[in-house]
Subunit: 370 residues, 4 copies
């Protein structure tokens, strides 16, 4: 296989990220096969054409089913709103395509299960766009844990906060409707849970709490009650006795893309924040007390795959680079090489945790996640 | 009253802090009445003598009851282990003394209730050593909240972590016995709760979770099961609909005196960490988006009572200075002036929250705190 | 013009950055004309072929003169060692090509002058790869200065430090030979000077000091004297009375890509560090003293051209993105649009400052820069 | 000697700091002899009385000569404006008293020389109030250097900045008169030079540059030219070939008590900033590249004399605590114990560096400091 044909559905926020990833991956990694940007789909024909031109795709369409059926397309990027993930992913897998689908899988657990089943049956590669696990920093954290640098993990805390819904007087939008999901829990908490899953394994039990910072929002001349929860907390119990907490908010003024990680082990601690994702802080309980402290390690060529992007240390990778790494890992998996990615089965397990937390929040008691 | 006579019981960690506070308070604040360091009590006679000399107390004793009975003593500092707080405080109050007692009040709720009752009956001033509420930084935070700078508070998170029990191989000590209390919950969480009480008011409901990072510890040649919990989390629901979380650990490698506060409101956010307690960060959702960010305010003469210590900004106050402020606030209260301090009634309410959280942790469900 | 043909000479550190920039620029900016990657040159034929495949160039060669002569090539990226810049740039310009040349222009001032003259004669666009001026952060700083947010600038300090030559026992290399230039002064100080030129204008006078942290380095079994200077300081006097300092070191252990900027004005201050180049800190002497502090602004869609890369704030841009912006600015200039870039004339002025500083260091007195 | 009698001249900014130091030193350090606060002098009789009461001094006077003559006084604290240091210190030494004098010694070098000569003749202890060298952090830095943790020092940079004169529209004051000295150079640069002297030894040559950010200031209805320099830079060459730079400004908006130190050695680097003086950052070029970074060490009981103030780590010392340490070191010296302090001879050497830098600034060339 000299080239691999790519189809892209959706060209919004994540759609552009996928487009840039497909554009850059070979130049960064020297990957084989080379990527052919075959087909792009947008809801509106003329927009599809414009984006295809901008993003360098050979053809465009407003009919996603035709893209999925296109025999030149080997792998389909799905970056549409969440409700579309299941039908598109299942159709693509049934058509024998590999799938790179944005997270979360689907608002309803049944749909996520259908997606995972379709992936299993298809024998194709099906992964989710959990980009945060791909950074050199998180890989370095994983390596530190594997090396047992901080001993066994005893406790962790993860916070993910943004402020895009923090304005109490922003008009009521579909994001606050019940049909949009639980709120911050499925919108955000899947990311921390992807880190938990990657770094520590899946939790055994969850306790959830969901809150409405603003009970209602302006809706024309009156106000409309908010139907889901902009703040959520999930306590986790791990099978091995460790414990953790995930706290998420989309009303956290000042937080723009925070995803803070605190990991405590029997011999040290690790800190990380996505808002400064080129840095990892490590505390090792070693040596003289007078010399101990958190060491801030700046990512560089010693932290793969940083060196594929820049050969000099301290030059910083960007968010879009993470998507390039994801595309590379997907190609690795397709070509049978070792690969780091969250596939549909693991993605399903992550969503089970989320649904368990939501159930727990309703019931006010601990709930098993499996 | 030209002078006020002070008696100090205990000269360990907090005992020395009280001694330094009594020594320095007049020179810092120019307070009237002047402090007379009358009597000091330690368990061992010769140590008591030595400390009295060092700390400038006129007399020493190994009999705390005689100190409490001393007619020259107007106010008693109690800095002994927690189990001694109740008998000493009650005796001092019954002898007509004012009391400055280290927190928490007592391991058993019944004892704390007895202390609060004794204070009420006595008509004397009885306060607890919650020093963290006294810093210029926390006073500035309180002022920001009063000014509604960040609008109504919707959510807060407080973490208090140290690592003094983080070494898994440190020998089993009395700190890990059931009789020492719940563990991190009463050892640490009273501090965050004192901040909650001071800044936001008392919570209505609590959910607790307590964990053992290390199930056992070395005990001679074998290992002994740990009987209480070095990690705890408390979720809080406030009467007005706001929510919060308190997370504490005494096994958090690298954390030395961390007490981090995140406060989110409808119009902004405030951050604070006791490890850098001369700084407060404030985010205001005002002006152009391009100019918004967290503003780190360094404490200075504009933040009382900093200016009593140093007239130039940016010169940093220390932990011991907080105890001097506490002593000053106690003198204010005794002399009928406005005063910021946590008295025994509020202290009792704080401990009710702690006990409710512990009960919740056992029962696995939300518990009312009052 | 529907497409523009690009030739790339050199595929090392900066060569790959150029390749990635040419690959991604259209997908990021939707630029017209589209970029055609026509020809790539490397010293060794087979490496040239491999890189052309990886980077998506249509043809490869080991003869840079043939690349420069290629009629399909409209613009030439020059990323070879500094000594090659002058012959290649001059040849390209004489062949009617636009030029994007890495900085600095040339070790010898006469060569830089020849390049600038060739550019002027050619009527073509000739810019230098000063990437640090292209970030949203530095553009935001420039905008703040234009808005007079901090009033007139009175004083600035810029430090640029790395540690790639900090190891005293690293073997003697060509970098330490006199023929390689002054050392840190031309290697690093051109970057700070590019910021000075962009933000404050050109200085009137310079005072230089150059130092050898290690007088000799291992060379086989013996040691060889170091011939140039790994540490340099340049004091600057601006025509309007403001003053500044540039400090550079390539032996600064722990510094990986530091480029710290402190700007003081009559009404405030601005801080920036390239190691965290998605952040700018601003202090405005406004409002109550109790509320003043440095505000850390995280780059986002409000800071162009961030929004072309990611639509959500706080997601971080990377170093390679800066090169994409540069390529975009070059295309803007070629197509006659407003553009931010350092052309050969400004580049020459920057190098005059460097040479003046070096002369000053030798003479031990202030030197005029023009 | 059971007690030592103290006289304090001046009760402003530094006067209160001395008073607090004398009040607290025994309780903190358990020092022998005990301090007797014998006499206090202020210009105005009634203020002297009030301060004596507040600060716990036995007697008060408005006649400094009588204080100096008082046979009960063994040591004299001099905290008056700089012009008074020389007559008071010389008189005190001639009267056989030990002296603790605030820095700098005197505006004129001749006066400083006179003070040093008087100290030498007297055989008494005479030290200067260079408090920044006394912190646990700076002592830890000194210890790291002694341990050769970062190898031999090759280069250092020190910045000291405040903003108390940053307001361009603040009225002209005596601080801007020529008679007040060079400006920032003698006002601030003595502190960095005290660190240089303590940590690296005295420099051999200096190059100075002094600047006026605001050429004039409001003076009633008109404006008056500023006569000295609010910004200064001093480049230093050390006898052993190392180099350094000192940069100071009293017009640096946003800087409140910044005193930043960067030390680069052949095997690592050390960072420190007085605005967070309970922290030291250390980079050691050891171990795997992937694990290297700056380690931020929080001061604690492992960093003497922190443990005399608080027994728990991470609790922060304050500025006033540094003065207590100074008083303790002075007592140590008086009682013949090892002691860290800058005596009049070293203080004189520091001022010679300052005067050399000023001369260099006038002459525009390097000047020898000795």
């Amino acid at each position: 296989m000299d080239t691999i044909g790519v189809g892209l559905i959706g060209t919004g926020y994540m759609g552009k990220c996928h487009a840039l990833a497909w554009t850059g991956v070979k130049a960064v990694f020297g990957d084989k096969p080379a990527v052919r940007r075959v087909a792009l789909c947008e809801v509106e024909e003329s927009l599809a054409r414009r984006r295809a031109d901008e993003f360098g795709f050979e053809t465009s369409t407003s009919d996603w089913r035709s893209l999925v059926a296109n025999p030149e397309v080997d792998v389909v990027s799905i970056t549409t709103p969440n409700a579309w993930h299941a039908p598109m992913a299942v159709a693509a897998l049934e058509a024998g395509k590999h799938v790179w689908c944005e997270k979360p899988m689907a608002p309803a657990l049944a749909d996520a299960e259908r997606m995972a089943a379709a992936a299993r049956v298809s024998g194709r590669v099906a992964i989710l766009g959990y980009n945060y696990i791909q950074s050199p920093a998180i890989r370095y954290v994983a390596k530190l844990l594997e090396r047992r640098a901080i001993g066994p993990v005893t406790h962790f805390r993860i916070e993910m906060d943004e402020d895009y819904m923090a304005d109490a007087e922003a008009p009521f939008s579909w994001k606050s409707e019940k049909s949009a999901g639980y709120g911050a829990l499925d919108d955000f908490a899947v990311h921390p849970t992807s880190l938990v899953s990657t770094l520590f394994g899946l939790p055994a039990e969850a306790f959830g709490e969901m809150r409405k910072p603003y009970p209602d929002r302006p809706d024309g001349a009156s106000r409309r009650p908010v139907e889901n929860f902009d703040v959520a907390t999930v306590l986790l119990r791990m099978p091995n006795g460790a414990s953790g907490a995930i706290q998420v908010s989309r009303c956290a003024w000042g937080r723009k893309g925070r995803l803070q990680l605190q990991i405590f082990g029997a011999k040290g601690a690790i800190l990380f924040d996505q808002e400064r994702f080129n840095e990892v802080s490590v505390y090792l309980a070693q040596g003289s007390a007078e010399d101990q402290g958190f060491r801030t390690v700046l990512m560089g060529p010693a932290h793969p795959p940083y060196e594929r992007f820049i050969v000099a240390p301290g030059h910083q990778m960007g968010f879009n680079d993470l998507k390039i790494i994801e595309a590379h890992e997907l190609l690795n998996r397709i070509t049978g090489k070792p690969s780091l990615a969250i596939d549909f089965d693991t993605g399903l397990a992550i969503e089970r945790v989320i649904h368990a937390a939501a159930r727990s929040a309703t019931d006010g008691r601990w709930v098993a996640t499996a």
